[in-house]
Symmetry: C2
Subunit: 302 residues, 2 copies
Amino acid sequence: MSLLDRPVTDRYESRVGRDRRVVERAEPVLWGGTDAAGPLSPAQLASFERDGYVVLDGWIDTSTVDTCLREIERLAMTPEIRTDERSVLEPDSGALRSLFEVHRTDSAFADVVADERLAGVARQILDDDVYVHQSRINLKPALEGKAFPWHSDFETWHVEDGMPEMRAVSCSIALTDNTEWNGPLLLIPGSHRRYVSFGGHTPDENHRTSLRRQEHGSPDLDTLESLYAEGGIATFAGGAGSVAFFDCNVMHGSPNNISPLSRTNAFFVYNAMSNAIGEPFGTDAPRPSHIAERDPAALPRR
Amino acid sequence: MSLLDRPVTDRYESRVGRDRRVVERAEPVLWGGTDAAGPLSPAQLASFERDGYVVLDGWIDTSTVDTCLREIERLAMTPEIRTDERSVLEPDSGALRSLFEVHRTDSAFADVVADERLAGVARQILDDDVYVHQSRINLKPALEGKAFPWHSDFETWHVEDGMPEMRAVSCSIALTDNTEWNGPLLLIPGSHRRYVSFGGHTPDENHRTSLRRQEHGSPDLDTLESLYAEGGIATFAGGAGSVAFFDCNVMHGSPNNISPLSRTNAFFVYNAMSNAIGEPFGTDAPRPSHIAERDPAALPRR
């Protein structure tokens, strides 16, 4: 079925040729409420519900962080990795920028992604069994790490991957110190309650041209000013081992890293088993499975 | 006299084909000591001496800030300004990035640059009459304002303008809020006591190719890591009207601005009358006078 034949029944339609608009979110943020059992306290859950994210200082132990960093160092020095389709290189320097699907290709990250401190929080927020929709390492090297423009992950996952509902949660794990000046994650508190759609259409193979990403799925200045006026901007700064959990629809981005301190983070997306992806809502061809899991298997509860 | 004929007597030689090196600063930071009379307290002067900069919250009144912003708005909408040699445009969008020599071309900025709260501080630090070596407006527009790589201003002014000694001070005036996330000035405290020279040579007309600036006068990662290990990194964040005075040799830079809040600052450089510029120490042709004043006139004491 081509896009033109589809009925207009998608609340979150975007990039299907209609005007940009902002709609209210339909789904809850906490699917099990603030009393759901799990690693987070009711106060932390309430903070997540209000702001769309929660920052947990020192959440992951030093030994686990060190294991991850050693593993990344090994991977970055493996020649085949650079030419693998799971790798994204910096446009100018050719340095490794992102490495996808590490939870499948690397046993150390497979352990971390299933850790109760992470997967358990996802189950607590989403009130369901969860699987890994996407995993990746984001390296923002000293002096040359590039920015990520503002976006809602859900908009992309809905349009390009076919994720039906806002029932997914991301976490960013600081493996090196994340400071206000080394290209940290910036979030607009409260923006998870608005869904920003876009006009135009998604070009074929959009995921291969990340440089042009800002044209597809990043809001214009008016929209950002409006979200900012309501919520301001918050910075995820924290030492290695700190974790930010953030809702799939919160508006976020990050500036470049001109500092001498590299910022290395692991990024995991947990999706509710009941929210597995189907046909994309705004493109004809789904993205490859190393970017969007199409064979969901629930992570074991421990 | 060509560069090759010059004797090696320049302590701060750089970009003259010799190896990169780091030397100790020879000059004092406070030429009149911490008891010099003027707008700054002895504690503020001591802080400037130790760190190489001092931040003054709410230093300039709202009325003056508003006058400056109105004037910038008017200038940015004047078509001739964009094609004037004093204007620097953003490489991608063509938006106005910098506008030089505003203290000469605009009476509002002529008043501000001579204000005792600014020129008086420069006299207090430099213990001499002062003139304006350079003035400019730096606009870092929302979403698209580009980064400035790390550099010491003095290195450029010595090599390209012929400034003899470290007896100049800059000030950056926040005309809109400067936050940790809208591309703020970053400084390495204590770095003003080291002078980092560079190998290679300066290309002709270097000031016209600011995009390539990072190749000429910006330190490598090893040097920055070493300066950072000693001093860390400080952010100049403050509301409109806040001012940062910083030594001509402190290492500084600023990241891009992905936020919806434009960062607009005025930047003035005061040089001691006794330190007027001569023949450049590392190039054959001096930069134009709108970038480096060659006809110094002391600002009147008020």
